[in-house]
């Protein structure tokens, strides 16, 4: 069984990256019509002919093949994690076969880039991907905006999210994304997808900054191996962290190509345990083995019995929130900070004021009501910079970070803005869990129970050819 290793812990003299670079160059020689070519593999995630990154990719497969196999990446969906696991598995198989054909080892495995480590340089792109900066280096990619990712954009708060599924409106936010049908984008991104996944994409920028070109950058695959690893890490943390058990999630079929090129079908059920995905793999330092479906169902049931309906609701992600405030007009972002105001209906409700008031639970202080800040119907052009969101900041108070609510990556915003065969064109949707922040803000002397000030600030100036409009900002609460 293969072991996917930490790219920064490869032993001296290890040739994993060297063989990867050779395979990339070899795959780039193949025509785009070949399912094992570099271009075809990248296009399965996303393809956009007018992009300069896709120049020279013709001739292309038939329109029918493109509709069937290309632009299939799942975003803003509970399929985000399983689809990318399948995608990586077949890609790794194709790269592995290419390496063998080139005379390399038979046990090549895709390494992962753990940018969330606290070790020095962990957030820097592995040197082999940066230098030499020439097309002869299979791992180098022209046009990247940055080779290093700010610490804020690789935090792992997502691992603390318990339910796998959730959208922050009909349920708490979910680790893996909202329940959906085939979703190329549009729904709220899951917690892991939002951070660090989306952030790393946009922070690196260039081809990586857009789902329609991201697969062309060789670092994409190490990034996604890390996201795939974090799924296993999350499962291993236990405490009711379980995969969905609904048939719609387990049995939904996705099509790929294997190393021999014919179409193959996979479902989420096929990738629950990394040890049984194709020839199987594990991650360095991460015990393998996701709970089987029956185990997951039993775990959820035990949780329900042991901790009552309240926990049951969280595990089943069935808590419904209510919108308490929303903006009345769209907000157009610019290189300056954008201010938006939410008129609150009064003091936010807490559990004490709800049904629990009539139970003995009401006699003890309850935790704050869940508050989710939504950014809906986000449309735009290009690859805008990451924007940081602050609530109720006061000029020059010297403690701005205490007001930090989260960041918006806008990964794939241009594609989400136009209807196509895979999505409705209603724009993107991000949600930030601001429960703890709201709770702390309420203790500040300048807290205004009638109004919330949202400040959206770009991490760097916006290019002239980029734009972002947020259709609605809203606050949902229990």
């Amino acid at each position: 069984m293969k072991e996917r290793k930490n790219v920064y812990q490869l032993p001296a003299g290890d040739k994993t990256l060297e063989w990867y670079a050779k395979a990339v160059l070899e795959m780039k020689k193949r025509p785009t019509t070949d399912p094992t070519s570099w271009n075809y593999q990248a296009a399965m995630h996303g393809f956009y002919a007018p992009s300069p990154f896709w120049q020279g990719s013709a001739p292309l497969p038939s329109a029918a093949d493109q509709a069937r196999f290309w632009n299939q990446c799942q975003h803003g969906s509970w399929y985000f994690l399983p689809w990318h696991r399948m995608y990586l598995a077949y890609f790794e198989q194709i790269v592995g076969a290419t390496i063998v054909a080139l005379g390399g080892p038979a046990d090549w495995a895709l390494p992962y880039w753990n940018y969330s480590e606290t070790t020095p340089h962990a957030r820097d792109m592995p040197p082999a991907f940066v230098s030499p900066a020439a097309p002869t280096n299979g791992l180098w990619m022209a046009g990247r905006a940055s080779n290093s990712i700010p610490a804020r954009y690789v935090t792992l708060g997502a691992l603390n999210t318990i339910p796998y599924t959730g959208d922050g409106r009909t349920s708490p936010l979910g680790f893996g994304g909202p329940e959906s049908v085939f979703s190329h984008g549009g729904s709220p991104h899951g917690q892991l997808e939002s951070l660090p996944h989306d952030m790393v994409h946009v922070a690196i920028g260039g081809a990586m900054g857009d789902p329609r070109t991201a697969g062309l950058d060789p670092i994409f695959w190490l990034h996604h191996a890390n996201i795939d690893r974090l799924w296993q890490v999350w499962l291993n943390m236990g405490a009711h962290r379980v995969n969905p058990v609904k048939k719609a999630w387990l049995d939904f079929k996705f099509e790929f190509h294997d190393k021999n090129r014919p179409p193959v079908v996979m479902t989420s059920k096929d990738v629950l345990d990394t040890r049984t995905v194709l020839t199987g793999y594990t991650y360095q330092g991460v015990p393998a083995g996701a709970p089987v479906v029956a185990h997951a169902m039993a775990a959820a049931k035990v949780a329900n019995v042991a901790e009552g309906i309240q926990l049951n609701e969280r595990v089943d992600a069935s808590t419904t929130l209510d919108v308490v405030a929303a903006t009345n007009k769209p907000n157009v972002l610019s290189s300056a900070k954008t201010l938006a105001h939410l008129d609150l209906p009064g003091a936010p409700r807490t559990r004490l004021m709800n049904f629990a008031a009539f139970t003995k639970e009401a006699l003890v202080p309850s935790k704050p009501a869940m508050s989710i800040l939504h950014f809906e119907h986000i449309t735009g052009k290009g690859v805008p910079p990451i924007h940081d969101v602050y609530i109720n900041t006061v000029e020059n108070d010297g403690n701005k970070e205490a007001h930090y609510a989260g960041s918006l990556s806008f990964f794939g915003v241009e594609e989400s803005s136009v209807a196509n065969v895979h999505q409705s064109g209603s724009g993107q949707h991000y949600a930030l869990d601001v429960t703890a922040l709201m709770d702390s803000l309420k203790s500040l002397p300048n807290w205004n129970a009638q109004r919330l000030d949202i400040s959206i600030e770009p991490s760097k100036p916006m290019d002239a050819n980029t734009s972002v409009t947020i259709g609605r900002i809203s606050l949902y609460s229990e």
Binding site: A67, T170, V421, R472, S474
Partner: protein, 280 residues
């Protein structure tokens, strides 16, 4: 909501049901659809020629021009008068709307969820009503046009022989089948799941939900007009409506969005209609 495990089982069931109804607000449109189907079914068995669709409205009838004259109150009063025509149009629209509610409302899960969870809990019913008002308005306008379709065909082909009648009945579904292979169809399909920002305070709450309903009505018509025209041309009856609804539901909720199976289904229906007309 917070309940403890020692609450009695009835309360737990009630809470779970409440959760279900809250989480799946489309129960309202499905409920309305069921009522519409019940009305049609009732008409089928109890009011032949009255509430049952076949033989009822002018747009369902071959020789619609003739039936326009005879479609006043009790089939006799106000014959040929403006009031009689108005009554006929009103009755036709009523039937048309019942058909739209029965067939189209179950296809609205996503927009209904969007409206429901975009507005305050206390405004959910109002929001949904605003949306449905906009949605039905589009279909009502279309219904007026569709009422003229049989008249137009009647004028065009005159007295129909069996072959022409069979071809007309089958042609709509053949058209629907052909359109399944139209490349733009997939985009039309995804547009049926479009959403838009909805403001939560009146009066914008109402204008936005109505506007969204109009938009979705237009998107839905753009996607589903061919089977609906086919129903008109085939002098639709209860069972044909039911079959079309089943295909539309499968297309929307069960099949992959790139599936061509609905096209084959329309083709089979077209062949069946042709065969029945020709060979009984």
């Amino acid at each position: 909501m917070s309940l403890t495990a020692d609450v009695n089982p009835f309360s737990i069931v009630t809470a779970k049901l409440r959760n279900l109804f809250t989480k799946y607000p489309e129960w309202r449109t499905w409920g309305l659809s069921l009522l519409a189907w019940a009305f049609l079914l009732y008409g089928l068995f109890n009011m032949p020629g009255e509430a049952s669709h076949a033989g009822r409205s002018i747009y369902c009838l071959p020789g619609g021009g003739a039936s326009l004259q005879a479609h006043g109150a009790n089939g006799a009063a106000a014959e040929g008068t403006f009031a009689g025509i108005l009554k006929t149009v009103f009755d036709g629209l009523k039937q048309w709307n019942i058909m739209v509610i029965a067939m189209m409302f179950p296809l609205l899960n996503e927009p209904i969820r969007h409206v429901t969870f975009s507005v305050r809990r206390k405004d959910r019913t109002r929001g949904i009503l605003g949306f449905l008002l906009g949605y039905v308005t589009v279909w009502m306008a279309v219904g007026l046009l569709f009422m003229l379709l049989p008249l137009f065909i009647d004028m065009l082909v005159g007295k129909q022989n069996q072959l022409i009648t069979a071809l007309i009945k089958a042609s709509g579904f053949l058209l629907a089948a052909a359109l399944t292979w139209q490349p733009a169809r997939l985009v039309k399909m995804t547009k049926c799941a479009q959403t838009m920002p909805i403001r939560i305070n009146a009066p914008q709450l109402y204008t936005d939900t109505i506007m969204y309903g109009l938009k979705m009505g237009a998107a839905c018509f753009n996607m589903c007009w061919a089977p609906m025209v086919a129903l008109m041309l085939a002098h639709h009856n209860f069972f044909l409506m039911w079959e079309v609804t089943l295909v539309l539901l499968c297309e929307r909720y069960i099949l992959p969005h790139t599936s061509r199976l609905p096209g084959y289904a329309w083709g089979i229906i077209a062949f069946a209609l042709y065969s029945i007309e020709m060979w009984g």
